[in-house]
Symmetry: none
Subunit: 231 residues, 2 copies
């Protein structure tokens, strides 16, 4: 990785055109040739950038640029599309190159997939006597997160979200409409399960006869840990 702090102006052209007037910024050149232009604020998103696969070439400024005080012109050309980033470098404050090696990568936890796994393991959270049929139950319009049967043997379709929103209820509604046309499954009861259910979503779900279930992730994970230790 190369890190350059320099005053520069930047032009991007591709899916849109964008221009950054001259100012002092941080330029990050990664091992794959991608370039990030950061200012001293904003979010984690750079002001401007070029994603890999791309190629960085450095050239001398033409007379017009040189007259404006440009010392170097970087051209970062995407090798798949015609996206192009041009960085005109004026004064360089710092220039460091470091070999970082390959990053071991991020370990994530707490995503929807984990909630699904935990609920499948703790299926009686749906109610006493429930049995897991399968996770990612396939249908023509996509997989249902969890399919189960209640204590009476009736089908239960569960849609799981971290944040239960209107969209999730709509999704489950589409599944239920489809599943209930299958005489082998019907009637299918719907359960909308999430760590947090928005009021609008709860109203819509209730109106459609869908049961809402708030999942306590920490408690579920705690039980999972106990299970892991016991067995």
């Amino acid at each position: 990785m190369r890190v350059v702090i320099a005053s520069c102006s930047v032009d991007y052209s591709g899916r849109l055109d964008a221009h950054l007037p001259q100012a002092t910024r941080l330029l990050m050149v990664k091992a794959d040739g991608s370039v990030l232009v950061h200012s001293d604020g904003g979010s984690y998103k750079p002001l401007n950038w070029m994603s890999p696969p791309c190629r960085l070439t450095v050239a001398e400024p033409d007379d017009a640029d040189a007259g404006q005080g440009v010392r170097e012109v970087w051209t970062v050309q995407n090798t798949k599309s015609d996206d192009k980033l041009v960085v005109r470098i004026h004064d360089v404050v710092a220039d460091h190159s470091v070999d970082l090696g390959v990053d071991p990568g991020l370990v994530k936890d707490g995503v929807e997939a984990h909630l699904q796994k935990l609920l499948a393991e703790q299926i009686d959270l749906l109610g006493p006597g429930h049995q897991l049929v399968r996770r990612e139950f396939p249908t023509a319009i996509g997989p249902v997160d969890i399919m189960a049967k209640d204590s009476g043997g009736a089908s239960v379709a569960v849609e799981i979200k971290r944040r239960g929103d209107i969209d999730g209820v709509e999704q489950l509604t589409r599944y239920l409409a489809l599943l209930n046309r299958d005489p082998l499954l019907a009637p299918v009861q719907g359960v909308f399960a999430a760590q947090e259910i928005k009021p609008q979503a709860r109203v819509l779900a209730t109106d459609r006869g869908i049961r809402c279930l708030v999942l306590d992730y920490d408690a579920m994970r705690g039980l999972d840990d106990v299970d892991s230790r016991l067995f």
Copy 2:
């Protein structure tokens, strides 16, 4: 801005939990206290980060950490939520502080929204006598970019793209199918408007009775400037 290159391990807890094992990375501390952790690959997104508003505090390692070779422990605490980032610094390769000043900011141009706004203002580009009904005309499957009426009062639905591709034609086709089922609107004529229309897209559109309109962005912007100056 402060840029530190150091071997470190990182833990995030908040909306999810994530952990980065020890490796050499670039740490960026911005003026607002936000912190970005970058590796030498990926895209513009950092491996891990803390968004403002937040506060960075630096502490000595406890005995356990010190025994692992930790020299400093950075705690970045979001001041609005309970999101927290902990960076354990081992060996520091480089450490630079620079005053970048306030960035003049990005000037974007040619984005779809701008094209939409310009076309709405210059609606007769669709043909003489056309009238704007509204931008972002709502339908059950999403908003149509522009709805208009031609000189004879017939409905015209316009889909706008910067680069006109097959996808855009498909999208417009779906809108037209829906709109034409509404007896108050039907028959609805389709117009596919873009700065550049790919040959495949043009063939598909023509085949479906959709009119193609190439937008001259510079000319439209020029007219807009003239308007701004005149009125």
